[in-house]
Every structure is written in C-alpha cells, then in structure tokens.
C-alpha cells in the first residue's frame, strides 16, 4: 500500500455529541492525513454519519474541536467549510430531482462563481470567462471521469439509482474539494456499479489532477479493506480501533462489535 502520508489535514479531538439521552459520539479523536483514503466503519447506529455531519458542519458537536489544515473549523457553518474545500455526498441521495444532471453539478460549483448580479445579467467579461472555465472544468474533470456523458441533459429523478449515486459524487466534485466525505457511496449498488464506484474513488484519490483526500463511511468491507489506507472503527459512539486495514480487521473488539450484531465482518458482495 502507499506510504508517506505525513501532512496532517483534518484533526478531530474529543468530539462528543448527544441527542437527548442518546450519546451518539463519545470523545472521538482521530487525524486524517492529506492524500489518503480514510474509512470509518462500524455497525449500524455506531455514529458514523453523525461524525461525518460534524466534520461537514451539519451538526455542531457539544464538545470537542475540529481543525482543517491547521485552522479551527468547529464553529464554522457548512458553507464556510465548503469554501475551505470540504465537500460531501449523502447516504440517501440529496439531489434536485427535477433538475438535469448538468444543473445539479453546476450547482455544486456555485462557490467558485464570484461575478455579481449585474455582470451576470449582461454576461460580459469576467462572468463569461468564469462560465467558460467552469464548464470546462465540469466537462473535462468530472463528466469525463465519471462517464456520465450520456445522461448530461437527463432529469435526475428519471435516472436509475446507481447513476443518481454517480451524479451525487459528481456534484460533490464540482466544488473541486481538498477533502471529500463519502457517506455509503456503495449502498444499494449492484456488483458492476460497486466496481465502477470503487474505481472512481481511487481515480479521485490517485489522479494527479485530483489527489483528493477521501473520508469514506461504508459497509462493504471488501472494498473498504481493499482501497483504504487507514481505518477507524466506531461502536456505540466510541472509537474502538484505528490502524491499517489488516490491523483493524484483526482487532478483537472490532470482531466482537460485529459478531454482537450477528453479522459477518466480511460483509461483501464478492
């Protein structure tokens, strides 16, 4: 596996969060380094999505701090974190179903469009330039990468689930993120689609053009163990293991957590 991820990108310290009496996260701390694929695993209800929501700013943790590239982001709003380069996809697809694929992707790019209302309405100079650059970026780097040329102008709601998942990833990429949070990108996909999606994640992570850090929440252990550089395991809101995929896989408390759920750790379709 790849080595040499030294540069700290995201630091999470003593994160705790409770909903009423339920402790969703308890004192969770970890670091994500620049350029790696970092996976968060755990049984259902372990707090994985809550953790992603805290990183991306949808939830404000009651305790603990978050640092992104050395800057504290604990109190920033989601859109401010997006401006810093954190982007995400959702477990349940959150696209604009009535809009076309292209419009959905364009929307993900709005923080890069700086021109004002007036210049926008006459489409001159800077606005035109921005639009052309933006179009170029979307076409070259995203649509081509994710192989969605044929659905560019289709309305999202009419597409099969697997393609909607891909559009969701496309929109997250439109931000040109430094770090992308992927919440169960493989859930509900068939075998072929899983393989495609895993390849896209690797492409985003490895292609020189992107080199995007990926934080992955996923149940498909086969894929997680295949592509991750490091993994943490959560159980009932607590971090129970951290390390390389083999280390986590062989960790007794991880096995215990999964066995307790009467579900094989190696939940995989292969």
């Amino acid at each position: 596996m790849k080595a040499g991820f030294d540069e700290l990108q995201l630091e999470v310290t003593h994160l705790s969060m409770a909903f009423g009496g339920i402790q969703a996260l308890i004192e969770v701390s970890f670091e994500v380094r620049k350029g790696e694929i970092f996976s968060i695993i755990g049984p259902n209800g372990a707090g994985k999505t809550v953790l992603l929501n805290c990183i991306n700013g949808l939830y404000r943790p009651q305790q603990g701090q978050l640092f992104f590239e050395g800057k504290e982001i604990t109190k920033l709003k989601p859109h401010q974190r997006a401006e810093l380069g954190i982007s995400r996809t959702f477990q349940k697809i959150e696209l604009f179903k009535g809009a076309t694929v292209l419009d959905n992707i364009r929307l993900g790019r709005h923080i890069h469009l700086k021109s004002g209302l007036i210049s926008g309405s006459v489409y001159l100079g800077k606005t035109a330039r921005e639009e052309i650059e933006s179009r170029d970026f979307i076409e070259r780097e995203i649509i081509d990468l994710l192989e969605i040329e044929h659905i560019r102008d289709k309305v999202v709601g009419m597409l099969p689930y697997g393609l909607q998942k891909r559009v969701e990833l496309a929109r997250a990429l439109a931000l040109n993120p430094k770090m992308i949070l992927l919440d169960e990108p493989l859930a509900g996909l068939n075998l072929e689609e899983v393989e495609d999606m895993a390849r896209f994640i690797l492409d985003i992570n490895e292609e020189d053009r992107w080199r995007t850090t990926c934080v992955l929440v996923e149940h498909d252990m086969g894929v997680v163990m295949d592509i991750s550089n490091r993994v943490i395991a959560l159980n009932f809101g607590e971090k129970i293991a951290e390390g390389t995929p083999p280390e986590v896989q062989n960790n007794p408390s991880v096995i215990q957590a999964y066995l307790g759920e009467a579900e094989d750790l190696y939940v995989t379709r292969r």
Partner: protein, 645 residues
C-alpha cells in the same frame, strides 16, 4: 441532384492506393476543410485535413521507428474515434496491413486473430484493451508492442511493452525532422495490388477467416457504389458502428477517402443516437438491428402517447404507408394523395425523421442480415430512402444495391457497375468484380473453394427476378424443410415477428419437424416498461420472460403475425427464452447474426421440449459474462401453444 457536379469520379489505376488518395486530399483541402469531427467534452471539435495529415504522418513514422515494415500487420481495437482511423491510415501509409477487432471480443477470440494474422503492433484505446493485450501477449510471440491512446486509468501502467500514442507521435516527429521526405516516399512505394486490410469475417459456422483485401479492391468498390449513389465533399457521415465490420470500412475508408466527406465520431458509444441527431448525416449504412431499434423506439413512444397524439400518428402513418405502397408498385400518385401525404409529413413524418436523426438523409442502406418488409415499409412511409445492400467482406463490402425509385423489399437490388452476378445451376450466388478479394490468409483450401476462376462463391442461394433484381434466400443450409416437404425461410418469419416492439430476437425452428415453432427473446426494456405500467413485479430478465402475462402478450403478437402467413409456415408453439441471445455465448456472431447450428446444439432440450407434449422445459446452463466470469442458471421454461385463428 443539386450538387452532382461536385462529385468527381476517381480514376483508379493499379498504381493508386488509399494513402496516395489521402495525401492528395490532404494537400487539396489542407486547413480549408474539416476532415473529421469528434464530440469531446460536450463540444464538436473539428479536425482539418492538415491536422489529419500531420497526425497520420507522425504516427506512421513512429510506427516505422518501432520496426513496422511493409506487409506487417497492425491490429486495432477500440471505439470509433479519430485516433483509430489515424492509426489505420498510418499503418497503410507505411505499407502495413490493418486488422480490425471487435471491441467486445473475448480474449480467446482476440488471441486467435492476433496470432493467426501474425500481428506485430497492436493499437488499443485504453485500459480495457491494454489489459486484454497484456493477458494474451505471452501467447502471441509475434506481437511486439502495444500502442494506447486514452490515458484514463493508465497511471500505474509502466510495462515496457506498452507505448502511448503521444510517445509514438513524438518519435515520429523526430524522425520527420531527420528525414523530411520519408513519409511521402513510403506512401509512393505502395501499389494498388498491395494488401491493405486483413479482414476477419464473423462466420456463422466456423472459426473466423481472414480475407485479404487490396487497395484496388477497396477503392473500386467505393467508386462503383458512388456511381450509383454519389457522395459529396459537403456530406456528413457519422462513424459509430464497429470498424471491424466491413460496412463501416466501406463508408469511412472506401467512400470517405474518395468523396472526402466529413466523418463524425460520437462522444461515447452510449451517446451515438443523440450525436447522430445533432449531425444529421446525409448517408448512413447500418445493419438491420439499428433500424429495428429505431422502429421499436417509435412504437414504444407511440404506446406511451396520449389518445389524440396516437390518432394523429395513426392517420399520418396510414397516409405514409399508402403512398409508399403506391411507390413500391410504381403506380402514379394521385394529386390528392400527394397533398395528404404532404400534410402528414408536416404534422408527423418531419418530426419523426428529425428525432431519428434522419432529417437530412439522402440514402440509407441496410445490409448484413435480413430485414423484414414491415420495417422497410415503415421507413419509406415516413419518407426515408432506405435501400437494401447485398455483399460480403470478400468483395470489399457490397456488390448489389437498390436503385432510387426501384426498391422492392423482398430483393436486394441490382449489381453495382463493373460487377457481374450470376446464379449457378445449384442456385448459389456468385459474383465477379474488381473488388473480389485475393483469398483467405493462410487458408489455401478455403480460398480455392470460395474463389473459382475469379468468381466469388458466396454460399448464399438466390435467383434473379424478372426485373433483374437479385433475391437472396437464406444461407443454403439455413432453409427449413418441414417433414411434409414444405420449405420455408426462417429469417422471413423471424424478421416479421421482430416488428413487434416486445420481441428482440427470434429463432424459428422446424427443419424435419411436423410444424414450425420458435424461441423468443423479449425486449427487456420495452416489456419491462409494459410490466411496470401493469404493476407486474419482476426482478430479472429470467423472471420477466416467464411471467404468464408476458407470455400472453407475446402470444398475441405471434397470433397477429400468423394471420399473414400460409398455414404451413405458421408458428404453432413458442417459448420465451430466459436470456437474450448474446455474442459472448457464441449464440450470435459479432455482427449479431444467429448461429443456428450452435443454438440448435446448445438448446436441444428446448427444441425437444417444443416438439413433445410437455408444457414446461427444465434448463440448466452456464452463461459467460463479458469479463470472463461464468454463472450457472437453472430454470423452467413454459411452452405455449398458439391456436389456429
């Protein structure tokens, strides 16, 4: 015709080659004309003749630097894209021979062709082709290098066996600076009788055979076709069917290089339909399945449309069919019908043509397999000049063709100029023309059998009717004789049934049997939509195909078709197959022709079931996925009888 003047017939001497013609056109048009276009990143990007020339030059010199010599074979695999054509032209410029592979070929097929053809260089598109090549290279010792052009996913491939097209062009450029005249010298060394293509025929029965075609073959074929239906330099053509199909070579290379029309390459195979509509080509040549799919799309849209739209469509198609039938029978069209047809055109046909990408079409051809009369009438009804072509790889593509205004849908037309077609006493179609190939590569016996005294023996039977049109029966061995001696052509029945939008493939059976039966593959998408609209649940093709409601639906379609058939040829029983016929399972050729002998063997349980009194057949079989994985299937098929109407 308005631009008839702009078509100049090419004078083809024994000295002329495709590269020489390429050189001539490149210098003539240089940066003043677009040679090809490719849709890339959502935009149609033009490539002028100057760019075309330079790219071919650098690739050719690069290939020469890699050790390609005159007569060496260069295999090519990948989607239709400019780079593919550049590579082919470059190989020809060096004096090499192009070998095309179907992109979806399994590794074993690719390996057989690479090895049998003694291929030295392979040109592939990207990661997928590179993976195929790396797997088979150890078993093909004559293969020296592989060139790839799409960098996607190639970041971790450092194998010394591989070289990027960019790198090849860089080497070529260097050589060009060192020896400026070399490229044109190489082209000038070529002769018309040199082999330019080694073309593997799909073969419905045996291993593929490699037909050797010369520059002279390809050029004369293109010229003689264009003597009938000229193409012009302002024309647009969309290249989206596999280059490994002779029909595509015929249009893109033989005709393309002589008429110098613009070749357009779609963005991705999935976007081809849309891209065709954007371009609106003037000429088109496609196998029947492409037209069948168009008709099916229209029929499905019709079924989904509102009542009023359906009525208008029915009315307009009625007009169209009536006028088309008058034309077919060469009767004058009365004025009031002309007016009505004009109205129907404005209201429906014009839109329909536009949606199918046929609004500018002047000639469109079908060939390679039989096409049903219903499909034919449909296109003529909406005013599309669809014509049948007949030919084979061994004669450079085509030899027989319908003339404008003289279309009969049970014939394939008349021979093109310089082509003689005769029928042997046994009924076999034989032909002679300057385009007849040199023989099969490394198969002297097969060559001698096919090529006798300059006559190409096709293996097809047929006759020439009173109008001088050639009528092609089935492949001789495909004709079915029922046990009472009645003969019938299964393809006729199959194409009739395929006019139903719900039916994708049909295999008619009956040789030596008391009555006709058939195996039907439903169209998954269309029947799937139909089922969803009726709240019929299904999870797979297998389940959908065996649904009783679906059986009823197909049964209605069979009964409808039976009405037009003599009672001996009527289908008495059928089954819905649990899967579609697939070339990966060897059931179809790569050009989607049914391999009867093979399916007969593979589905002999089904055939036996159809001729016994059982109403259910138990099946166990293995299917192969495109990546080589196999799956085992167990299922029960229902057999349904069709009552006499």
């Amino acid at each position: 015709m308005s631009h008839a003047a702009s078509w100049m017939e090419t004078e083809i001497t024994k000295d002329l080659t495709i590269p020489k013609l390429f050189l001539h056109s490149a210098k003539k048009y240089w940066d003043q004309k677009v040679a090809m276009r490719e849709k890339e990143f959502g935009i149609w990007v033009p490539i002028t003749w100057k760019q075309y020339y330079e790219n071919v030059k650098w690739i050719a010199l690069g290939m020469a630097s890699l050790g390609l010599e005159r007569g060496d074979k260069v295999a090519m695999i990948g989607d239709n894209r400019p780079e593919a054509l550049w590579a082919e032209m470059a190989a020809m410029c060096v004096g090499g021979v192009g070998v095309w592979l179907f992109q979806d070929s399994l590794i074993a097929e690719v390996q057989h062709i690479i090895d049998h053809s003694d291929t030295k260089l392979m040109v592939g598109e990207g990661q997928e082709e590179v993976d195929k090549c790396l797997t088979l290279k150890d078993r093909c010792p004559k293969l020296k290098r592989m060139i790839w052009d799409d960098p996607k996913g190639m970041r971790n491939y450092n194998h010394p066996f591989l070289i990027s097209l960019q790198e090849v062009m860089r080497i070529g450029k260097e050589l060009d600076q060192k020896e400026p005249g070399l490229f044109e010298d190489m082209i000038m060394k070529g002769q018309g009788d040199d082999v330019c293509l080694l073309f593997y025929t799909s073969g419905t029965t045996a291993l593929p055979k490699g037909a050797l075609l010369t520059h002279y073959n390809m050029l004369t074929m293109g010229r003689n076709l264009m003597k009938v239906d000229p193409c012009f330099e302002k024309d647009d053509f969309v290249s989206y069917l596999p280059f490994a199909w002779i029909g595509e070579q015929m249009m893109s290379i033989s005709c393309g290089i002589q008429a110098a029309f613009t070749l357009n390459f779609p963005e991705e195979p999935e976007t081809a339909r849309e891209n065709i509509r954007e371009i609106g080509p003037h000429v088109m040549f496609a196998p029947p399945r492409v037209y069948e799919e168009m008709v099916r799309n229209v029929q499905v849209k019709y079924l989904d449309a509102s009542w009023s739209k359906r009525k208008i469509y029915e009315w307009a198609m009625g007009m169209g069919y009536h006028v088309a039938d008058l034309k077919f029978s060469k009767k004058p069209i009365p004025l009031h019908w002309k007016i009505l047809k004009g109205l129907a055109y404005l209201m429906v046909h014009k839109k329909l043509k536009d949606h199918l990408g046929l609004s500018r079409i002047r000639h469109t051809y079908t060939g390679g397999a039989a096409m049903g009369p219903d499909h034919f009438r449909f296109f003529h009804a909406i005013g599309v000049n669809l014509k049948q072509i007949y030919g084979q790889t061994e004669i450079g593509g085509i030899s027989v063709l319908h003339r404008d205004g003289d279309v009969k849908f049970n014939t394939v037309g008349k021979p093109i100029p310089e082509t003689e077609v005769q029928i042997t006493p046994e009924g076999e179609i034989i032909s002679k023309s300057p385009s007849v190939f040199k023989g099969y590569y490394k198969m002297p016996e097969e060559s001698a059998k096919t090529l006798r005294d300059g006559w190409l023996h096709s293996g097809d039977t047929g006759f020439i009717d009173s109008d001088g049109h050639l009528v092609v029966f089935e492949r001789t061995k495909d004709i079915i004789t029922l046990s009472d001696g009645t003969k019938f052509a299964p393809q006729y029945l199959e194409t009739r049934l395929k006019f139903s939008p719900y039916v994708k493939d049909v295999w008619a059976i009956g040789d030596g049997r008391p009555f006709v039966t058939c195996v039907i593959c439903i169209d998954y998408a269309v029947v799937g939509n139909w089922a969803e609209a009726r709240n019929i649940a299904y999870t797979s093709y297998q389940e959908l195909s065996q649904n009783p409601e679906v059986y009823k639906l197909v049964q209605t379609e069979v009964i409808k078709m039976n009405r037009d058939l003599p009672s001996a040829a009527q289908v008495k029983k059928f089954v819905n197959l649990y899967k579609e016929f697939d070339a990966d399972d060897d059931e179809l050729t790569r050009t989607r022709k049914l391999r009867r002998a093979f399916v007969e063997e593979r589905y002999k349980d089904v055939v036996n079931g159809l001729y016994s009194s059982t109403d259910s057949i138990h099946m166990e079989t293995t299917i192969t996925y495109e990546d080589g994985r196999r799956a085992h299937i167990k299922t029960d098929l229902r057999v349904i009888g069709v009552e006499d109407q």
